[in-house]
Symmetry: C2
Subunit: 126 residues, 2 copies
DNA sequence: CTGTATCCCTTCTGATACTG
DNA sequence: CAGTATCAGAAGGGATACAG
């Protein structure tokens, strides 16, 4: 997709727009924190604080920022309970679950090739 | 994986090291340019310039930088032909092909939910 | 052709403080 | 508890020049 070539003809305009949007989505989503959030929300709904505790090393700011982005793209649903103190829950939507499958696949890949990669690094660094 | 919790016991040390490495790999690879490079190298070996032409918008610098990273992690093999001018070819290794499968899946996901996402954005931005 | 190095601007990120 | 705003340092990224 993202590497498709165009010839400049008028009928390419739609394809070009779709491609540019796909690129944009790709750039939004293909980032470490987004993946980790999707992974964490895999099975269950979580509150803001629970998410932050679950994802080691994420800052308050990065978490809100990425949650907004995921919400904007319709991957995550944000439910606010009008209580005090507030209670906000995040859940993966259908499309979020769809992406989760590929994130899971990537986690599996990481596990499978862990030692392989470690070895490659040692070789390279020498 | 990456969201696993530890209890601090000594026997957790190995798990913790593996997890930290997995995290590191995740951070390296879960980035836009790396994905686009892997996607471009999907079927065939490509030269440096061919890659740059294939991936719209990538700069000389980002391409070398990401190729080095992918090579270091053993996802891409770099073959130099000692000719003049030089000819350098990049190919996906076995582990690279493994990751490619998940990148492909993500491209498929993007296509499938393109209009869905576009709609979600319009809703959110209002 | 491929690759490294440099300059310079932009974006990212974490820490902190402050609101409802 | 959840979220926003701000600041400063780090990293990302483009352009250019130069070497093998």
């Amino acid at each position: 997709m993202v590497t498709k070539q165009f010839n400049g003809s008028p009928e390419d305009a739609d394809l070009r727009r779709a491609d540019s949007l796909a690129r944009e989505i790709f750039s939004d989503v293909a980032n470490k924190w987004a993946f980790l959030i999707i992974e964490a929300l895999g099975e269950r709904t979580l509150r803001f604080t629970e998410l932050r505790d679950e994802i080691e090393g994420i800052s308050h700011k990065m978490l809100t920022q990425n949650l907004r982005m995921l919400e904007r793209n319709g991957l995550v649903e944000r439910r606010v309970h009008p209580t005090v103190p507030p209670r906000v829950e995040y859940t993966l939507t259908e499309s979020g679950q769809g992406l989760r499958a590929t994130v899971d696949a990537m986690c599996g890949w990481t596990q499978r090739y862990l030692s392989h990669i470690e070895a490659a690094r040692r070789r390279f660094d020498a």
